[in-house]
Amino acid sequence: MSPTPSNSLLQGASSSTVVETVEPVVLEKGYIGRSVPRKEDRRLVQGLGTFFDDVRRHGMGYVHFVRSPYAHARILSIDVSKALELEGVYGTITGDEVAIHTDPFFEMSVEPGGNIKDYALAVGRVRHMGEPVAAVCASTRELARDAADLIEVEYDALPVLVDAEESLKDEVVLHDDAGSNVVWSGVFDWGDVDQALAEADHVVKIDRLHFHRFSSTPLECAGALVEYDKGTGEWTLTCNHQMPGVGAIWMAPALRTGIDKLRFVTHDIGGGFGNKICLHPQYVVLCLMARKLGRPVQWTEWRTDQHTANAHGNERTFLDVEVAVKADGTMTGFKVKALDDCGAFPRYEPLGCIIWAQVTPGLYSWRNIRVDFTQVCTNKSPVSPNRGYSRMQHLWLTERIVDIVATELGLDPVEVRKRNYVKAEQMPYETPNGCVYDSGDYAAALDIALDLIDYGSIEERRVEAASRGRLLGFGIGSTLDSGTNNFGQSTLLNPDLQFSGNNEAASVKLDIFGEVVVTIGTVPQGQGHETTAAQVVADILGCSPEQVNVRRGHDTWFNSHAGFSGTYASQFAFTGLGAVKGAAELVREDMVQLAAAVLQAPVDAIELADGFARIKDGPEEAALPFMALGAIVNANNAFLPPDFNPTLNHRFVCRPYFGMVDTEKKTGQLTLTYATQIHAAVVEIDPETGDVEIVDYAAVDDCGVRINPQIVEGQVHGATAHAIGAALSEEFVYDEDGTLLTANFYDYHVPHAMDMPPLKTGAMESPSPVAPLGAKGMGEGGGGGIHCIGAAIQDALRAAGGAIVYTSCNPAHRVWSMLQDPEATRANVKVVSR
């Protein structure tokens, strides 16, 4: 039952929203599907939001970390005496205390990576510039930093590794316990790529492609306020961790305590994008400090700290790519060696070594794919999930392959995509490694994007630009945002792991005065969960979103949550709202039963609407306001029969069904929903300076039922801005000594208001047959802007030497180099034709 898309377009203002809404699968349209203005905004526009650094406690100490200036060195000695003598300093924590009082964090990989010892502070050795070596706590922020400057650390420099291929040689080994720099390696081989290559009319060989290192740099840096209760041995972390479920799984064993002793509380968070998942090392140090000093302690990370030591996105080099292409342009398969650089410590890694397999074929129908995957560590900041985590890197590979094959074989990039895209009628489509693309019409989405960008006029605009001495280029970037992570894919990396499936929990209750109260285990950082959850509950209980109070943020003790609680992997629409829907339906059932009993009517005669439980088409007075139901159950229930005990308070755990994965063939449902985003860009290059300007941009999104279209469109805008920044300027660059050269916003340039082109956006709705509300997760976006801008640059350079874009970040100096020496990049590509 795939929807019939239509090309009727609303050509409107620069950022018009084109809505082609089809019949929702699940619920009769109420608040779901409407751009309800967000509930969160009222406090945020008055500066009354509560971010962790806003929270104060009496007697609170401020923590500052002493960080390594060396990228790789032995720690000979740490002397904190001068710091402790400073008036107003409360205490310090050093690596040896961490080694005594805590255990290394749980490692997911098999040998050798699994043997890596990852402590909360550097123990005996520092492995990247900025790595925390000691922590000091004092009465004011400034004093804490003064004290940090008095801590003397003696280092003995060691050789530095900043290149993954160099690291692979194991001449310098970062982790002696592992004995090798390889964190994980394995081969994924589906179909028969050798046969496909043998039968191909053309084999396109690409020696090297490089996906660069960058991150989403959320505007609010990481941090926490930690309190220790000596009586109960419990810690309360008022923080901005975006995945407390897994955070607790790491921290509790390290602190040698039970998971329930760690209470994570989040209020408002200033953006996460995956970069606030691996905060457990610093948080464990704060827990030790709070317990040691017997006072609340607070740490705020500053921008340079975040760039040098917090989450970087996966940097991945693709080697020896071979693509099998038939004469008619059909691509039957490819093979590649992928080398992933996860920095000094594999924290959430090696999961990145499998998560790309959720989108193994990209949007294409080739059946024969072999990926020889290896992940190594280097003396750079540790990697953590970053918007588009691991799928973005792989989708960039498939889009680069398609555009290089098109350029080399003289095929039209639109035609070669339409020929090779998975077709709408093939949906639900099983990929070569057993994932199922649930719904979508890639060709139709591409048509909307081409229409928005006025594809027909490209050649005309190219001539006009040339008359002004500018090189015009057009590019497409097609991506899938796989939503809802099946942690069972970790067993494809390490069969001994006891991790699989996924879950999220929510509770809904009707209070004594009839107020609807919702709690969720998710951790929104700007996605508007309070509003979309309220829309779903309102439609199920028959009231308005204003009557639904969704508690802000996460609270391990007072809000429902589950083992995998958090906000990541584009899964809120599925698991978050799925849990809310489940709980609301249980409460609805109670309300209908109770109303039927009170109004003496059959259950199916009762309807919930406009904040009342009433008899359908019944008399005026046969209607009970929610308040009446709440009052009965909570404060006036004597008259209820003994065997009838409605609680009007239910918790529901949404447990998406993935089935088991096959660890032999490395197949299985690694995720469940696939939102599509097709991006198209037109750029103009100044050939004298290499400067790239985006002159037209369109993005089309298809994520099934859109609970709140405006919020969905906001995510598309944000993902596009992150991608444009990465494509043109955002890059973590290290020199050969392991010093990060782009350590702050001075040299790490993120797009400002004037850098962003006007975005034209379009939308389609192919409901998901598997998601509870037909809504697919879509927050990450898959990096469409990186793919289409790289393709547009390559298209523009065809008229000036035909250089091949080989990396995902192309600032002016790199484009200029490609203009000076196109052959250097072309030598990378060969076509062998039969």
Partner: protein
């Protein structure tokens, strides 16, 4: 970074300055105090004038290689608040008529927050400090040669 400097004084005088730790210590810009640990090691407390304010550092010097009158190389490791410096310098002397032709080489690495100010500011700052050391060296040599003649 490297260059040559023509000095009017004869090689013996130049050598007398280069090989003498107490002389070399005074060359650092903004030196506040220094201490000779032994014939091949000495430390200096400096406040490098960076225009916008001083950068306090303790510099530990170590002689690496010495071939009297011909070649001298040394290494300086500076540790301060906000910066970490690792500098190896070498001087090669050859006779040039009455005076001396000195080829100098300096390899300077800076790490830590000061590096955060952007390389394009840092590189010129390091060049400035090296040229100031050379100017001071020239002065010391000139002073030494006049006192030698006197």
């Amino acid at each position: 970074m490297s260059g040559t400097k023509e000095l009017s004084a004869p090689r013996e005088t130049v050598w007398g300055v280069i090989s003498e730790p107490s002389e070399m210590a005074k060359l650092m810009p903004g030196v506040e105090s220094f201490e000779i640990t032994d014939e091949r090691h000495w430390t200096a407390k400096v406040k490098v004038p960076l225009g916008l304010g001083g950068l306090k550092m303790t510099m530990n010097f170590e002689k690496l290689e010495e071939r009297p009158l011909e070649f001298a190389s040394m290494r300086a490791k500076g540790q301060g608040v906000g910066a970490l410096m690792d500098m190896t310098t070498s001087f090669t002397l050859s006779e040039a008529g009455e005076g001396t032709s000195m080829v100098w080489e300096a390899d300077v690495k800076i790490a830590g927050p000061v590096g955060a100010m952007g390389q394009r500011v840092l590189q010129p700052i390091v060049n400035q400090q090296v040229s100031q050391v050379l100017a001071a060296l020239e002065e010391r040599v000139a002073a030494a040669s006049t006192s030698a003649e006197g």
